[in-house]
């Protein structure tokens, strides 16, 4: 295995080196770095041109400039990276660090969301093959897949930002809005749960009535401007999550697991009370991350204690429940901060920027500020990725569902849940792993348009600006990061593959 990894690494490094040279030559020959000066009518135009030629080394052959650049990168091994400076004199290393941070913030949530939603939708549409739901998902997947980002972004800004902000100023849902929302929820839930027409109609109707009622009550309470959630709801939601996770993964018949999950939910909610002081005014993100890890560890411990014969499964499910409970708690805190956040920022979603300039809120209000700024770009990126993930998952799942061993599992009398989650799902995931790994690397550099439309300065912006000015340093920095990410992710996928499937190893 080690030999395999080392060989892969060696080959990757050579590929990266060759590609970097190609990239460099292509970049420096992609245009005229003196274009703006040639159009200048300054008296000392020639001196300015000479200065830039000297500054960027334009008189040197491409190879010499490349070697200069490579020498700077080589210093990274001695701890003093020098990725050069841009034509405007900015330090490319700092620029790259900032751009990478910004891009990671932008794509992480989108990628995770796209994986979860895409795989879930893909599986459901595979199970409900040729149903109305399946057709709708297929239709939407192709629609989203071919969506021009800039156009979708402009629409989202119009409805998701401008109209939403106009609406939240009053926060009052019109009867038609309630009706419409409830109707959509009814149709979707009915279609997803499936069954006979009678059953679809009744689930749809119940969902419709429930959603309409909840919205009506929330509306009456002016919940959208002054929302509350509360400890009771935290407990209820966590318990619900515990039951749901158990039902899907282990089946409710497995009592030890169920009890483990329920205990986790209760303990999680109680710990919310215990840690309320720290949670409401955390000193930094590290505190929250620490608490989250602690929560997961404790949950796994609870699972281990309850587990007995199903220890492994109980640990897994408790861990997941613990994580969900933590998220519910964060949600509760955010909901509690919403009203004061609205006071600070009356139009909560901006159309540009990753944060509000000079925002003066406390920790959670700032989280809401940056969080709201993430919503629109995340939706755009997620829609596009969900489309491909759901298609891949669907086809992979369908293939697995038609395998002999799945038929065997069914014929020996296993429940459909067990067949899908235990036998089919895991195997269907194998090809998805590769795609996800590769996609993540792609997203880091591929959010160029999204970044620009939403006013984020990430890797894409750095690349584009560099290319516009025929300035190799930022373009090469972009290439280094995305190229390395692509190679690393590919290698991870390969290793995972080799681990899962011994036939890959040679």
């Amino acid at each position: 295995m080690l030999k395999f990894i080392l060989r892969r690494l060696g080959i990757s490094a050579l590929v990266l080196l060759a590609a970097s040279f190609l990239m460099f030559v292509l970049t420096v020959n992609s245009g005229d770095p003196l274009k703006d000066l040639r159009e200048s009518n300054a008296d000392n135009k020639q001196q300015l041109i000479d200065a830039r030629v000297d500054h960027m080394g334009l008189d040197d052959p491409d190879v010499v400039r490349y070697v200069d650049w490579l020498a700077g990168v080589g210093q990274c091994f001695t701890g003093t990276c020098d990725l050069g400076t841009t034509v405007t004199g900015a330090n490319v290393l700092d620029l790259t660090a900032q751009a990478a941070t910004s891009t990671l913030r932008l794509v992480t949530a989108a990628t995770l969301l796209a994986i979860v939603v895409g795989i879930a939708v893909g599986i459901i549409s595979a199970i409900r093959q040729y149903s109305g739901f399946d057709y709708s998902v297929t239709f939407l997947a192709f629609l989203f897949f071919s969506l021009p980002v800039f156009w979708a972004a402009v629409l989202l800004k119009e409805y998701g930002a401008i109209r939403f902000n106009d609406w939240i100023a009053g926060g009052d849902m019109k009867p038609l809005m309630i009706f419409g929302t409830a109707a959509v929820a009814g149709v979707v839930v009915g279609a997803v749960l499936g069954g006979s027409w009678r059953r679809i109609l009744s689930t749809g109707a119940v969902t419709f009535a429930f959603v309409a009622l909840v919205l009506w009550v929330l509306n009456a309470l002016d919940w959208f401007r002054n929302p509350f959630f509360g400890l009771g709801m935290v407990l209820l939601t966590s318990l619900g999550a515990a039951v749901l996770v158990t039902a899907i993964v282990a089946g409710l018949g497995n009592r030890r697991v169920l009890y483990a999950a329920l205990t986790t939910a209760v303990v999680g909610t109680l710990s919310y009370l215990a840690f309320a002081g720290i949670l409401l005014e955390p000193s930094s993100w590290w505190v929250l991350i620490g608490l989250f890890l602690l929560a997961v560890v404790v949950s796994i411990g609870i699972g281990a204690a309850w587990g007995g014969y199903a220890r492994k499964q109980a640990m897994l499910i408790s861990g997941i429940t613990g994580a969900i409970t933590s998220l519910v708690i964060v949600f509760d805190i955010l909901v509690a901060s919403w009203a004061s956040f609205l006071q600070l920022k009356s139009r909560p979603i901006s159309t540009i920027g990753s944060e509000t300039p000079n925002f003066s809120g406390d920790f959670w209000e700032s989280v809401l500020d940056t969080g709201m700024q993430l919503v629109l770009p995340t939706v755009v990126l997620t829609l596009i990725s969900v489309a491909s993930y759901s298609r891949y998952t669907r086809s992979s799942m369908l293939e697995v569902m038609n395998q002999d061993y799945v038929r065997t599992a069914r014929s020996k009398g296993l429940s459909e849940r067990a067949v899908v989650t235990k036998h089919a799902f895991r195997n269907a995931l194998i090809p998805i792993t590769t795609i996800v790994a590769f996609d993540f690397a792609g997203l880091i550099g591929g959010a160029v348009i999204t970044e620009s439309v939403f006013g984020w300065k990430g890797m894409g912006a750095m690349f584009r600006e560099g290319l516009d000015r025929v300035d190799p340093a930022p373009v090469m920095a972009f290439f280094l990061v995305t190229g390395t990410a692509a190679i690393l992710m590919n290698m991870l996928a390969d290793i995972a593959y080799a681990y899962l499937d011994p036939r890959i190893r040679r």
Partner: protein, 609 residues
Amino acid sequence: MKIRRASAAVAAVAAGALLFSACSSPAADDEPQTEDTAAESMETEQISDPCKVDTGTTETAEGEVKYSVGEDEFLGYNTLTPETYSTYNSAVTERIQGLFWYFGVDGTICHDENFGTYEAISEDPLQVRYTIADDAVWSDGTPITYADFLLDWATQAITADGAVTEDASEEALFNSISGLTLGDYVPDGPQADAADAKTFQYDYERVYADWEILVSTPLPAHVVAEQIGITTEELVTAIQEVDMDVLEDAVEFWNTGWLSETPGELPDPALVPSSGPYMFKEDGWVAGQSITLTANENYWGPPAATQDVTFRFAAADTHVQALQNGDLDVIEPQATVDTVDQLEQLGSQVTVTTGQTLTWEHLDFNFNNGIFSESLDAREAFAYCVPRQKIVDDLIKPIDDTAVVMNAREVFPFQTEKYDEIVAESYDGRYDEVDLETAKEKFAAAGLEEGTEVRIGYSAPNPRRADEIASIKASCDQVGFDIVDTGSPEFFDKDLPNGDYEVALFAWAGSGQKASGQNIYATGQPQNYGGYSDEVVDEAWETLASTADEAVHVEQTKVIEKQLWDTLFGIPLFAHPGVGAYSSDLENVRDTAAQSGIVWNAEQWARAS
């Protein structure tokens, strides 16, 4: 509500009256076009002064105004190096660095009396005396003095060899965008009694027509002195004596110490004092997002109207929605028909201003080679068939309905009085309408054959220019030309220097200089791409450039314009349209034709209470 650029027109009248009261000719008193009169009477409440007017602000109001120039990151306090010099950077630094003058809304040079006063005490030889306001101080409390201007002069005068420049062609010691022109004209530098004098004098070696704008924004000399460990007096002496030991340290700091290598990290406040109404706000710069300026408490002039001004870095195509959503309060989007439509749909929530700018589009003939180089008839044939009015009507009027065909090169239509005066004497309107018959006659007289290829080159991609050429082709192909659109991304790099074109289509950005046209129209000058040469024009430019007398400038401009029309250097088309828009609850926002952009009077922006 919609403010058209009538204000600029009115402004120009006022400016013209001021500048040319001594030399108004009968032509200038011609009846103005009826359309203009109507516009003026409708906008009587509009400000008629091209310069900033007193808004009566006495104290700074709490709050923040958000503006965006574009997505370019702020680069540094010193905007005078070639690396940092850009409209994006100046938009910020001009708020924190004061100066004796600025460009008004129609390109007029306005005096900033708050900063100080200046006057030419002698026109030939040219001697200019500057007096900085007594209470003018940097935001750290140090008075703004002669030393700051001497340092500014040094950056534009001293060569790398440690001498004052002879002819501005040497390598400069400082990495300044301005080159060595100032040192060339004022070899002795500004003269004053002491390092901390408030009054000083520039003695020009020879007269320079653009002397007013030659003296640029001073950076704080006391900061440089402190950073290299000497006193300001010692720095002044070192500059006067060209003491390279000291100067080399000063250069080192001037070239790099005021640049922000790492976006988002503001320099030490002690290094970047402000001499304007705003200063850097602590922690106000977030890399890739925005930079915020806050009112300068030590500013001695009228205080900034609003406490904070935030410059957000956002791409131009996001501006309209951002304005609608309140993420930006003032925008200057790309001037396209779509943008104007979008903005007008927003209704009374935003105020839209459209008008002309100081950038103008033109067709230039190639005099070095090709069919137009030797034959005036051929050039005239082309000029008679170019549908100038149609181009303006189809492409520019939908954006700015005050747009007109431009009939001059050195003055703009919105500088009404001066423009009318000069055009009346230089151009008789013969190319106003397409005249295919005359064009055909000239075509035949030039001995051209049916189907003669005319390559019109421009820097592609540029959809508007492609449309212009399509219009020209539709008209001129009837005469016998075969118009070919040879727009290319490498136009300025390859086609133009190689002479691979018959007609070049591009725009010059008006620099506000009086004599900059000499570079374009006089024989053998660097911007005279087409190789045009005419003795009358050369001589008129010589006369114009070597006097500071406004009357002579106007007279010589008439000579030049007339000769350029008669010999057909090229065909001016139109001044580029500009669009500005702002949230209607803001007061005192005024768009400008000058390149400083709508942000030029940011310190006067106030929220209506």
